[in-house]
């Protein structure tokens, strides 16, 4: 009580610290730099290019939303995203004969289950998520290869093509990304599940002692993540019209990069869907600028890595300044 009455605490509390201002400054400078680089790049500023950026952010973005749930819940990352997407993509295409909606539902259920099981092990048993998902990636790829003999799965119907629709000139996946971003953000902010997830992510032991359902919350987060991976899988499979174990490509690291570039710390307890969305768009925009300026894939990947590194450092400095 005495401590709380200390006069020094009073005013300054709401003021921003110098470190916060500095990190904000850096962010502003970077955004301006990206904009300038974009403006000075031929054809960057065009409706078509904006559409292209959103399109290329959309599939990674939906995956990254799922990973955001996992990361906020304190289970670091899943390294099995690519393989999950590939396997679910196969399921989606081979279920086309049932019709689009049943196939989509089936895909979401399979994705949620495959990922949810891992989440249950992480949540209830406290297994290390990084190693567990490495194991899962091997298992999923192995089973998928074993079942299909490595042969690409072709669609058993044509319903999937609706996912390639472009209402008002924008691919459906962009609308889906925006809708899901808002949905996930709302869930995180407004529901009891969202708040428990932040608490579990920040301090698992404390959450358990406080009587929060740690295992259930974690499992739910992973189930949600799996469902979101499945949405990406359906769109990717529909886009490629065939699926094999390599369908997921580099999605795992792309999604991690997007979440981290959005400023969600890997240690959990913080983060938001909107930030992840922005992270995905930032990476897509920078890659786009580099591509338009004629840089090779290697340089694009290099810059992606540096962006992630920069954001990680900035976010950390900012959080620490808040703790001080």
């Amino acid at each position: 009580m005495t401590a709380l009455a200390a006069p020094a605490r009073e005013a300054a509390a709401a003021r921003r610290t110098r470190a916060e201002l500095a990190t904000d400054g850096v962010v502003v400078v970077v955004v301006v730099a990206v904009l300038l680089a974009g403006l000075s790049t031929d054809r960057f500023v065009s409706v078509a290019n904006a559409k292209a950026i959103l399109t290329s952010a959309s599939l990674v973005g939906v995956c990254a939303l799922g990973l955001t749930l996992i990361m906020i819940g304190g289970s670091a990352v899943s390294l099995a995203i690519s393989q999950t997407v590939a396997a679910v993509g196969m399921v989606f295409l081979s279920a086309q004969s049932l019709g689009l909606v049943p196939a989509l539902l089936l895909a979401v259920v399979v994705g949620a289950l495959v990922t949810g099981v891992q989440g249950a092990v992480v949540g209830h048993a406290g297994a290390n998520p990084v190693v567990l998902t490495i194991a899962a990636s091997f298992a999923i790829a192995g089973v998928a290869t074993g079942v299909t003999d490595g042969v690409s799965v072709s669609p058993s119907g044509t319903g999937y093509d609706h996912l390639n629709a472009t209402p008002a000139g924008l691919p459906l996946s962009v609308y889906v990304l925006v809708a899901l971003t808002l949905g996930v953000e709302w869930t995180l902010r407004r529901t009891g599940f969202g708040r428990s997830l932040y608490l579990v992510g920040e301090n698992r032991r404390a959450a358990r002692a406080a009587g929060l359902a740690v295992g259930r919350t974690t499992t739910l987060a992973w189930l949600g993540a799996g469902a979101l991976f499945a949405v990406t899988a359906a769109f990717t499979a529909a886009f490629n019209t065939s699926a094999n174990v390599n369908l997921g490509g580099t999605l795992t690291f792309d999604a991690i990069a997007a979440v981290l570039a959005g400023g969600t710390p890997i240690t959990g307890g913080r983060g938001s869907a909107v930030r992840t969305f922005l992270g995905a768009v930032l990476i897509a925009a920078v890659s786009d600028i580099l591509l338009l300026r004629g840089y090779s894939t290697g340089v694009q990947v290099l810059v992606k890595g540096l962006i992630v590194l920069g954001v990680v450092v900035l976010v950390h400095l900012r959080t620490r300044s808040r703790q001080a």
Partner: protein, 334 residues
């Protein structure tokens, strides 16, 4: 109260893993239609040489409570630099790989220690960036190393089962074991892995130690890449994630705890030998690659689940509920 030293996980796990895989290896002829020969030992050691430096690099940082995902990036870059700069003189290539690796480790270590950043996101970002850099350096192409004498030399059989490459790798493990067991480095490495804040308060030079560990990790990965390039006579800009996964499996089998603070180089060696033996069994028995994949999945899955802290609680709870409550010892009742 004192438990047997052997029963401690940093010894028990690697010894069990090595023992079991050795038995599996020796029993291969009974279930697969093959003969074992000294070449199989040679090949096992070649696999060890390929993964050993990575496992050691990863293991050291894991003991310190960090996780250096960038090892594979450094490995790729080291291999590429070796090939591109070492065409005329292998020493230049080797030096470039090891030096660059150490420098990358130094920078990462300084970032992580100086700003007290978690290592996972930093090394992940570095990993992505290094793969990009390697690919940019080579234009995305595999580069050939034309000094075939070096290629032949590093893999020539020595004493039937060894090669210079595997001997170098074994030497690295011996050196690390000596350093960690014989100096305060080992103790302090485990200390900062076990409780960073407490070590700092106790007066351990946490920052310096972390930077040195990451530098060592980088140098080892660079060296691993260089040795691989010498051996393959080429450098591939993207080695994939398989080396990382096997190195991580080796480190975990080697008794290193994911939570940090536990592990020793000789345990790591046993762990990597176990993984190499398994890989050799898969090769000798000609298992299809997806079966091998499933096998590694099962192995890692078992390790990580057995290591899972809350599972122990669950098992204890279950056991307690299945058992009738113990009668309090009569003689102690007041």
């Amino acid at each position: 109260m004192r438990r047997l030293r052997l029963a401690r996980p940093e010894l028990l796990l690697p010894l069990t893993a090595f023992g079991l895989t050795l038995v599996v290896f020796l029993l291969t002829p009974t279930w697969a239609d093959v003969e074992l020969s000294s070449f199989d030992v040679y090949n096992t050691l070649q696999i060890l040489a390929r993964l050993g430096p990575l496992a050691l690099a990863l293991g050291l940082t894991m003991i310190a409570g960090e996780f250096d995902l960038s090892v594979v990036g450094t490995y790729a870059l080291g291999g590429m630099l070796t090939v591109q700069l070492g065409q005329d003189d292998w020493r230049v290539g080797l030096l470039a790989a090891v030096g660059t690796g150490a420098a990358i480790g130094l920078v990462q270590g300084a970032l992580i220690a100086g700003l007290r950043l978690p290592s996972m996101p930093v090394t992940l970002a570095t990993y992505i960036a290094l793969l990009g850099l390697t690919s940019a350096l080579s234009d995305g192409l595999t580069k050939t190393y034309s000094n075939i004498d070096v290629t032949l030399w590093v893999d020539q059989p020595v004493l039937t089962v060894f090669s210079p490459r595997s001997l170098i790798t074994l030497g690295l493990f011996a050196l690390a074991a000596l350093l960690l067991a014989g100096s305060r480095w080992g103790r302090e490495l485990r200390a900062i892995g076990g409780d960073r804040r407490a070590s700092r308060v106790a007066g351990v030079r946490v920052g310096r130690l972390l930077v040195a560990t990451f530098a060592a990790s980088g140098a080892l990965s660079g060296l691993g890449g260089a040795l691989l390039s010498f051996s393959l006579g080429s450098a591939n800009p993207d080695p994939g994630v398989q080396p990382l996964i096997l190195a991580a499996a080796a480190a975990l089998l080697g008794g290193v705890s994911l939570a940090g603070g536990r592990g020793a180089p000789l345990g790591l060696l046993a762990g990597i030998l176990a993984v190499a033996l398994l890989a050799e069994v898969a090769t000798v028995a000609a298992l299809p690659s997806y079966v091998t994949q499933l096998f590694y999945a099962a192995l890692l899955g078992v390790i990580v689940v057995v290591d899972a802290p809350d599972l122990h609680a669950g098992v204890t709870r279950l056991r307690t509920h299945l058992r009738p409550p113990p009668v309090p010892p009569a003689e102690e009742t007041p």
